[in-house]
């Protein structure tokens, strides 16, 4: 495509936005005119992306599971209902399935088709999660992928790869690190990264977290 910004930069009209911006504006206009979406709602959702949803929510769920054995059991039995107990009901159309990592089993989550992901709990998926290499290789060679994330699992550890779907969103509950016995839920949640809830990281140890 030609560069319309150059063409317009010497006159007194507006700079023409990018092709993607114009297509987005056209899409938004058509949907608003058809009554399918409300512009104020679009703004509210974007605001939520920036300020509300994010891995701090998933981390709170994990920290509660570590601290409260009854909640842990409910979370593993019905992730959607357990998250709703904490007020997180943003994904009504999908089921949350919690997967517990341990010394024996390491769960890893991928969406081989596109980018299915527990948005409400983890926020927007990272770029690598949406990229072809991760989508393709996590299933074929999960141990090699995990090594690239710095996780070198012994052969005795079973690796389970879970392919997300439109209906099922997985949340990995990482193994609780040693030396965290006295910590409250807020301190525990600080050890739980986004990646640890996808399965591409361990939870941080309290010393490492304090150091950086």
């Amino acid at each position: 495509m030609s560069d319309p910004v150059d063409k317009l930069s010497y006159d007194h009209h507006q700079h023409l936005p990018s092709d993607m911006t114009l297509r987005t504006k056209a899409l938004e206009s058509v949907l608003v005119e058809a009554g399918l979406v409300d512009p104020a709602t679009i703004d509210a959702v974007i605001e939520a992306f920036e300020t509300e949803i994010g891995p701090h929510i998933g981390a709170q769920v994990v920290a509660k599971a570590w601290s409260d054995p009854d909640f842990r059991a409910r979370l593993l039995a019905d992730g959607t209902a357990a998250c709703a107990e904490l007020g997180y009901t943003g994904e009504q159309t999908t089921h949350v399935v919690a997967l517990e990592n341990s010394a024996e089993v390491h769960n890893l989550v991928v969406c081989t088709l596109c980018s299915c992901y527990p948005w409400m709990l983890l926020g927007l998926p990272p770029t690598w999660y949406k990229a072809e290499p991760y989508r393709a290789r996590s299933v074929k060679e999960p141990r090699a992928v995990l090594r690239e994330f710095g996780i070198d699992l012994g052969e005795e550890v079973e690796v389970r790869v879970w392919d997300s779907t439109a209906e099922i969103r997985y949340l990995v509950v990482p193994e609780r690190p040693a030396g965290t016995e006295g910590l409250d839920e807020a301190a525990l949640a600080a050890l739980v990264s986004r990646d640890s809830m996808i399965g591409t990281a361990f939870a941080s140890s309290p010393n490492a977290a304090a150091g950086g």
Binding site: M20, T21, T93, E148
Partner: protein
């Protein structure tokens, strides 16, 4: 994996339109206009089409796929009349081209 493979404070969106298309995608599903299954399939198909056309599919072009999937799915489902998107695209382009600098750009009726 790329160097940014781990948690980072990177901005959520590279450009504002990316946030808008993501919000629209969630809203048409949440509003029941599109089922989660339809959406996942449309997005997967858009990614495959882009790959075939040489898209790097490295995650950085992801929101282009979201936009293309929305355009195709809404047309397929009859939620958007054929030609309507092109007409609105043209309307926005002309509005930018004809609005004096400093004035708000408004889409003309049509």
């Amino acid at each position: 994996m790329p160097p940014e493979a781990h948690d980072s404070g990177a901005p959520l969106f590279a450009e504002p339109w990316e946030a808008t298309v993501q919000a629209i995608a969630q809203l048409v599903v949440a509003g029941g206009h599109v089922t989660p299954q339809e959406w996942a399939e449309a997005l997967g198909a858009a990614i495959k089409r882009a790959q075939a056309e040489g898209d790097p599919d490295d995650g950085t072009t992801y929101y282009r796929h979201v936009l293309a999937a929305l355009e195709a799915l809404l047309l397929d489902k009859g939620l958007v009349a054929p030609g309507r998107l092109a007409a609105r695209l043209d309307g926005w382009r002309r509005a930018y081209e004809t609005t004096p600098h400093g004035q708000p750009v408004v889409l003309p009726p049509g």
